[in-house]
Amino acid sequence: MARSITSPPDRPRLIRKAVGLAARAALVMAPAALAQAPAGTDREAELWAASCMACHGTDGRADGVALTIADRSEAELAAALLAFKAGERRATVMHQHTRGYSDEELRRIARWFANRRPVVRRP
């Protein structure tokens, strides 16, 4: 079941306090269970990607300031991460974070988010 982020019953009021927050996705999918490490799952990248979710939202679906990274292609995400790392794309934080990862690690994180499909959560 999709939940609207505009009228959620249990959503914090915080985001409404931040004046000028940029456009957000109209709908946020309910969090879904991760696959149980089937063959082929990049478990390392899955764990590294989980770190990103603190700021970018569970599964990359975030509130505010264009932080959502879900539903983007691997190429787009990888290019953004590598550009942050090279200092070619302006950022407040991401240029500092990306320098802590190898290019290959950044590509695998990009692939993980790009391949992450919204799944209707179990009841």
């Binding site: 249990d10 764990l47 569970t58 500092q96 974070h97």
Partner: protein, 419 residues
């Protein structure tokens, strides 16, 4: 049924045989004790990484109240309800068994949880008991009366409002004293953010008032240059920073503080952030094996270094050098721990190369913030999480755009942890 399929999948993936299966079968039930950033994230991600796990969350409160942004409640920009998140929808969404009870004790050897008249045994325990305040070395602060008169406001809750009201009701031209304990303590930049926001509040509403920052440490513990520049340039004589200020005694009725080296100081409002140690549940269970104050863990699975099958998270643990006690770190540790327990339950080895990022925002006024960032990577040689060379850094200066990011961070980490 789901459980069996889960085992089959994991085993097929790993190509493993009988011994890991036995191990996997032995790991079905997990108790998570404490629903802060660490515990709530762990419970949620355990179910995400392996939905066959039966996860019980022990948390007595109906709603989580987050500490981040609570300094903005003191400053007046936010309300307590902005910091709150109900546990019920979160628990339902993730299929958690939420026991709304205070855990009285744990038996690490039996992996037993005791609450009220009940005792329950689990395959694994995850303890996230937070910090306990330790007034022991500060004379005069032992009584509940003194602790109510001189608030810490270091856990978001009633004391946050007490301090806010004391600051608002302070006489014109009064003196505020903020005491910072010796590190390590919860949220290293927090006291300095508080000083900045209190100074901002005074500037707006009580411009002749003064803020004295008595720091038991030799210097500002986080974002030093950013805070000291801000205080000097924006507040001048309004903020006085006193390092190496070891507090010996407080007369709470008279609002008098006595320091080891700096004599006696009277104030109109005293905000005393006490020294801290691992939460009572951990110390009573004998799990605080690092100097009797903090809990030692391994950084691949956050298992206690002395209690097999018992995992420890958040502010209660002895982190790697440079790893702050913070909500963000707790959220990150919890995911590594949850992934490791889920892997074991599926007969897989935990990932041996965790990488976690830290982003920490501090407000310096109602509309400006700064950040510090770091990336920690597991180092097999030292078995610690080590800052990645060349990564991380600070804001160049306070900015409004970072205040927007700080609010977005708070909203997203709250959702990621308790959403």
């Amino acid at each position: 049924m789901i459980g069996r399929r889960g085992f089959a999948l994991g085993l097929a993936a790993a190509g493993l045989a009988a011994p890991p299966l036995a191990r996997a079968q032995a790991l079905r039930t997990v108790a998570v004790i404490g629903g802060g950033f660490a515990g709530a994230t762990a419970a949620k991600y355990l179910r995400r990484f392996n939905p066959a796990l039966e996860v019980t969350l022990f948390e007595p409160s109906a709603a989580f109240l987050m500490c981040p942004l609570s300094n903005r409640v003191i400053e007046g920009g936010l309300h307590m309800r902005d910091l709150a998140r109900d546990y019920a929808p979160y628990a339902g969404r993730h299929g958690l068994r939420w026991v709304q009870a205070r855990v009285d004790a744990v038996d690490p050897g039996r992996r037993e949880v005791r609450f009220g008249t009940e005792r329950q045994v689990f395959d694994r325990l995850v303890l996230a008991p937070g910090v306990e305040f330790d007034y022991g070395n500060i004379g005069g602060m032992g009584s509940a009366t003194a602790q109510a008169r001189v608030p810490h406001a270091w856990k978001a809750g009633p004391q946050t409002i007490v301090l806010r009201n004391q600051l608002r009701q302070m006489p014109a031209g009064g003196v505020v004293a903020l005491h910072i304990p010796r590190a390590p303590f919860r949220c290293p930049p927090g006291p300095y953010e508080r000083a900045s926001l209190v100074a901002h509040l005074l500037q707006q509403h009580n411009p002749r008032a003064k803020l004295l920052v008595f720091d038991a440490n030799a210097e500002i513990q986080s974002k030093k240059g950013l805070f000291s520049t801000l205080w000097r340039e924006r507040h001048g004589a309004r903020v006085e920073y006193v390092p190496d200020a070891e507090l010996e005694h407080v007369d709470a009725a008279a609002l008098m503080m006595r320091f080891k080296m700096h004599g006696v100081q009277r104030a109109d409002v005293i905000n005393l952030i006490p020294p801290q140690r691992a939460g009572l549940l951990a110390t009573q269970a004998g799990l605080a094996n690092v100097g009797g104050r903090w809990c030692g863990v391994g950084f691949l699975d956050y298992e206690s270094t002395i209690a097999p099958g018992v995992h420890m998270l958040g502010d209660a643990i002895q982190g790697s050098p440079g790893m702050p006690k913070s909500g963000h770190m707790a959220n990150q540790q919890a995911k590594v721990c949850a992934a490791a327990i889920a892997a074991l339950s599926l007969g897989l080895e935990p990932v041996a190369s965790p990488i976690i990022a830290n982003t920490c925002y501090s407000f310096v006024s109602h509309a400006e913030a700064v950040h510090v960032a770091a990336v920690f990577r597991y180092d097999p040689a030292s078995r610690q999480m080590v800052p990645a060379p060349g990564a991380g850094g600070l804001s160049e200066a306070p900015s409004r755009v970072e205040a927007l990011y700080a609010m977005a961070w708070a909203s997203n980490i709250l959702e990621d942890s308790v959403g």
